[in-house]
Amino acid sequence: MSRIDRRFAKLKAAGRTGLIPFVTAGDPAPAHMVALMHALVDAGADLIELGVPFSDPMADGPVIQHASERAIAQGVGLKEVLDWVGEFRGRDADTPIVLMGYLNPVEIHGYARFAQEAVAAGVDGVLLVDCPLEESAVLQPLRVAGLQQILLAAPTTAPSRMAQLCGSAEGFLYYVSFAGITGAAHLSTGDIAARVADIRTRAKAPVAVGFGIRDAASAKAIAGFADAVVIGSALVERLSGATDAAEITARAQGFLQPIRAALDAH
């Protein structure tokens, strides 16, 4: 059983909804990245999504785009991201880590080399936004090495394809709550609830919902029907501009704790 599977099993046993914060690796401050990751866990994160910066993040809105640009400007690449995961693992052997990003950095790094280094560092899964199931043959070395491929499902996904995604899902299935980019603000929980309920009955893996969840209220609205919620842009925005470890930690915890409380009160 993988670290991700263990974590979701534990959540299910406890009757809790998982909390998955997304942060862009290297933002707001490369020097305090590992401290930020621990702060997220201390504030109640069940799994961390770590964004690998990419110059051309087609599926992301301005907040994550700018965070990527800032990280790249500071020289953050896959090597740094993997180093941080390795360092994080020194103190935390349980919290699963999923790297989220785009294919080109992995392609250029080399799939086999990436797979080996990521597993050695303690990465559990990858979510490569621009690598749909149809193109995922290139990820074979990652699967062989034991990295789980997190798949996306969307409101536009056709029923036949949804069945295929549900059958192929591993770790968790990430349901994109609306057709759009990360950080956009329209969320209609009624539509999502029906969709996610249906997917949960069919998917081989738990279902996390992301895109458009900004705070305790929107997280709580989703909590009723999802196995986990993902929060990205709003958190990245809150962290942006913080420079020292204390402030980064305080902001992360100030943002995440009310959401954790809302999920647990559900």
Binding site: P53, F54, S55, D56, P57, M58, A59, G61, P62, Q65, H66, E69, I72, G77, L78, K79, Y102, L103, N104, P105, V106, E107, I108, H109, V129, D130, C131, P132, E134, E135, L151, L152, A153, A154, P155, T156, T157, A158, R161, L165, V176, A179, G180, I181, A184
Partner: protein
Amino acid sequence: MPTIQDYHRWPDEHGRFGNYGGSYVAETLMAPLAELGEAYERLRQDAGFLAELDRDLQHYVGRPSPVYHAERLSQHVGGARILLKREDLNHTGAHKINNTVGQALVARHMGKRRIIAETGAGQHGVASATVAARLGMQCVVYMGAVDIERQKINVYRMKLLGAEVVPVTSGSKTLKDALNEAMRDWVTNVADTFYIIGTVAGPHPYPKMVRDFNAIVGREARAQVLAQYGRLPDVLTACVGGGSNAIGLFHAFLNDADVRIVGAEAAGEGIATGHHAASLAAGRPGVLHGNRTYVLCDDNGQITETHSISAGLDYPGVGPEHAFLKDAGRAEYVGVTDDEAMEAFHLLARTEGILAALESSHAVAQAMKLARELPKDGIVLCNLSGRGDKDVHTIAAREGVEV
């Protein structure tokens, strides 16, 4: 790789040209791309659609465009005959309209009322705004802030045609960023919006569809050269940014094994300086904008900023079919510098009375090099993909002239 007899059988049903192409997009776009692919496959075999397209190309675009023997330019060079395929004479002044007329008809058949497009030099934006105006559709064009500055005339033309031009200020503020932003718009508005991609890049079916709509350039030129000279050209050349005018010219000749094919990429200040946009000549295979192709990126996989005097060639990727043709050895891709393009621009203006687009001037410069290597009865066929009116301010500024 075994010798390929039929280059026209690519892409396969997944949009792959050998190792290149494909659909590297987020899940949300898989359904709209499939819908587009099905609609396009149906329409491209529909006699009514094809007749409609032919009518528009003839009466609205002004096809066929002539093949013109540039005699004084050829004499000046002192080698083979240089023939120019005059895509600059099309309505709106470039080959881009071949594609936008076609895609706009597809959009109408699919019931979409809103057109979006990305543009670099502005030619594709103008061509998109043009067809949107004609079909009474709303049009939004994404354009990098840097390109807006260097292509003011085209920005104003788009506005006159009723389009909204949205400046893109992320990344390098050029064509690649405009493409990212247009994709973001599409993913948000997929229900009513048709995205007209202007080059043979992007996810499947775009590289195939855009190629098909531009392939009329080569079909016409092949028949015209055969009729006028009784034989095929020795060599073809065209400029390559994303590669739509080039694949348009090349495609009809791909199975003519004796016809040499040379693409001219923007070498900017020289490939050795790093300030260029020569993805095929100096890049490596990677994934960008929905397809696997040659890209310019660093060792972290970050796409690098490119440089070219011509906004239309200032792109760090290239259409996947060109990547395939390069690896197959069917086409060669070489760099032409800003200075060489400028020299060709002036020479063509003075010897033939034609102001070529800066993009096309790269092809003219390459045609001159190729003509020098051939005897006088040789034939170099060069795609003059666009006219240079839009570049007059850029050229004046570069040469310190106040207009």
